[in-house]
Amino acid sequence: MLPKLFFGYFAAVITVLSILVVTRRNPVHSVMWMLLLFFNLASMYLFLDAEFIAAIQVIVYAGAILVLFLFVVLLLNLREELKANRFIGSWPAGLIVAAAIMVSMVFAINSFVPGPMGTYSIDYIQKETYTKVLGEVLYTEYLFPFEIASLILLIAIIGAIVLAKKRMRS
């Protein structure tokens, strides 16, 4: 009973917060609601026994990405934004597309059959400690994708500098 109660809380809060993020007029308010959403998501990951993911959700998403969003929102002017229309003229078309995606996903989930169980049970993870098990998988089986991720971050650094730099007029 208690896990279902917790899940109900998280489901309600996460759904309401994502609707708030998408519909607010002021982008700063959207960013703030998204901050709350990310903290709720992090606590739901704790509820799902994923401590490391909860930590990087708070550190990377809430700490780095959202601050970047907030900087850019504050760089652009908000005066006209508060008076202009929020949605494009043909927003019912977007609503229909989203509803169609939702319906198809609900049907897919209802006919979903889980695959075979893996070997990392809760008891095993508790015996070996979580971070050690995760690190072993990450640095042995997924070493090559890990290196590619570092390359992606390097490209992101260079690309962001090149794109946001003021163009020299010669």
């Binding site: 990310f38 652009l76 995606i101 893996g118 991720a149 794109l163």
Partner: protein, 100 residues
């Protein structure tokens, strides 16, 4: 014990809200935040799969998704700044030079 399907339904709902926001909002920053919302919906389903199927690979995938989301946010916001410098607007329906 909460069934796995409930988590997948929550993930589907968040993803749908993200799709709606991406398709209908005029402000390009909020469209971008809708993309982040969709990535987070995928993360929910991956972590719940990882928990229910007792396999850590789902969480490794979440790790990589967060890496790519950080890179994407940096590049995308740089593009938004470059666009705003040239057009002085953040509304996507005002950007129609290519007549798409």
């Amino acid at each position: 014990m909460v069934p796995l399907q409930w988590y997948l339904m929550l993930s589907a709902a968040v993803f749908t809200i993200g799709v709606f926001g991406f398709l209908t909002r005029r402000n390009i920053i909020i469209m971008f935040m809708s993309i982040e919302l969709m990535l987070n919906a995928v993360n929910i389903s991956l972590v719940s799969f990882s928990h229910y199927l007792q396999d850590l690979r789902g969480q490794i995938l979440v790790f990589f998704i967060i890496t790519v989301a950080a890179a994407e946010a940096a590049i995308g916001l740089a593009i938004i700044i470059a666009l705003f410098r040239n057009k002085t607007t953040a509304h996507v329906d005002d950007m129609n030079e290519m007549k798409g």
